[in-house]
Symmetry: C2
Subunit: 404 residues, 2 copies
Amino acid sequence: MFQSKLFYKTEKKAPRDADAASHALLIRAGFIDQLAAGVYSFLPLGLLVLKKIEKIIREEIIEIGGQEILMPVLAPKENWEKTGRWKSFEELFKLKGQNNKEYALNPTHEEVISPLAKKIVLSYKNLPLYLFQIQTKFRNELRVKSGLLRTREFLMKDLYSFHSSEKDLDKYYEIVSKTYNRIFERCGVKALKVLALGGSFSKYSHEFQVETPAGEDFIFICKKCKTAFNKELGLKKCPECSHSSFDNKKAVEVGNIFKLGTKYSLPFDLKFKDKDHKEKPVIMGCYGIGLPRLMAAVVEVNNDDKGIVWPKEISPFDIHLISIDKNKEAEKLYDDLQNKGFNVLYDDREDVSAGEKFAESDLIGISTRFVISEKTLKNNSVEIKDRRKDKLCLTKFSHIFQTI
Amino acid sequence: MFQSKLFYKTEKKAPRDADAASHALLIRAGFIDQLAAGVYSFLPLGLLVLKKIEKIIREEIIEIGGQEILMPVLAPKENWEKTGRWKSFEELFKLKGQNNKEYALNPTHEEVISPLAKKIVLSYKNLPLYLFQIQTKFRNELRVKSGLLRTREFLMKDLYSFHSSEKDLDKYYEIVSKTYNRIFERCGVKALKVLALGGSFSKYSHEFQVETPAGEDFIFICKKCKTAFNKELGLKKCPECSHSSFDNKKAVEVGNIFKLGTKYSLPFDLKFKDKDHKEKPVIMGCYGIGLPRLMAAVVEVNNDDKGIVWPKEISPFDIHLISIDKNKEAEKLYDDLQNKGFNVLYDDREDVSAGEKFAESDLIGISTRFVISEKTLKNNSVEIKDRRKDKLCLTKFSHIFQTI
């Protein structure tokens, strides 16, 4: 991509209401644009990162048997009345269509997937079943803040599992938990698995929390056994070892996993015929990851005073190629890199100073930077720099593909 | 994918209200599921096709300079008031959020992209600019019908172009028109370019129409010069050659292209500084393709009395491998094909008759079928059949990768 054509604009100043590093940096570097409070557009740079996160999640969830589907945003009121959540789900966006038909904008999809599964799941032979989607959710939040950390509209991966026994659910729950660690690691963050409020079926659920001062959640970590739990649980003693002194951290929830049991299969009459020919309710689990929030959390823990520092696997481009003074060598290198399968942002602009180019490059934060200038050309070389490190490495054109 | 695990169910009968072949077949073959009138879920088979269509469109639009972004579903009322369409756009879904803030569910994105472009486009140097997204749209249609042919929620590719002159818009308009032909061709349909209602800026817009009795549009085609126009234009004479006898066809609109001129740049004050240092309004064009409707149109023209006949490039899987009687050879072939990069649906079910397997395979309509049975095994062979043709071809295992 030629930077002279790229649809973006960087800003020197953060928006007035920016109260988190990720908010300020994603706006300043031209990744996102605010349309309304808690409602954002993804510009080309931002969408590239979002798609890379999406790809990682899709690969990992398919790896553990997930089948991808796509459910709608609109759900009829009746579905949400069946579980009582038309009234009890406070953040539910509601609207009326033709003939005064009422809909919810789904904030989660238990009310849609349970009756859908009922049409196809008949016997124990259809179980276990793992269905997921990567789809836009809506929450009528009272207050939004911190850019992508809490929004009213956001892309979410929601996975639902269906089982013939609690034991089978427990097994899959652990598998998803491990997969979540791998997803967050590939995205460049370490997420702590934290005990959180459960439901009627299980005492606790689990959240995956990324430690950052920008977080809205308070986490207690047992000083003795390191068990972590959300402050909302209000425990005085560690639920694992009964120790009672804790470290206290602020964190952002990037994912959660929840044993639903029969909470949704019962109201939607989702049953299966077991090996013993008896009809039994299906046991369910659900597992969410909010993609924009994960993207923001990545930025919270991967930035410096110059800008964003994207982890390699979700960097919007593989390489930021900067040409100081227009020259043929940069054009050729750009073509060569693209032909070898690298995605390159090529700063081909002629009316911008070297200083400005470097400052913008630091702000945008592509993981690897190549610089071609008069100086490097004298050595038939390009300067290569990892965004994380200060060290420059002068590499001969002829050796580039051995180096990277 | 093992068919024994696939989340789908086929139906012998069409839903009572199915008034189009695509509606009946996509439901019967387990590609989609209706949640509400005009609101559908895509099951794994359906989503695979939708993603392939999405991939084709993305490739082709990027090829003509499109930069992908992602704009929100929610837009503030103020944006829609600015153009007068809060009142005049009849199918606009409206809702209220916190503090009685009103939103539209965007049915199209001129009201979002124009103020967004204004933040970045400053000078003629930023033009032309081509931005697109593949994103979910909402239309509060009075009546919905025919499955995916007219829905209230649907995935759409919307491309917007921004120009410094009408001449430049005209040029790009023709480029998009050619690209649309290529997209529809790759998806397996022939779309007629048809004159349709224009606006204040241009006398006509253009629609891309696929001829089918299931269509809601009436198309007139001049018998002399073959110019086609939508009946809504109400012309008595051909606008090209003034001839007055026409062929009359029913058709489905799968895409449209429209010269917007300054219709949206004026209310949003979207200007640029030209080479002559004068500020001028940006000239815009917009270009849409409804993905689910295109998918339905493909089915309308690619089916037979047994089921769907997917064109190769958007077939949910490359190969439907059917094993009659469980055998090791089928397992091995499945692995070999997958390792060679083919996506295979493998009918590994043991409790289903050969007849049922073939009937389901015909209904689902994967473009190529492989059958391994006792008979073919005697010849160390597999039976290969193109879904379009009756002819079978017996191929030795050792020759498969030379054949396909």
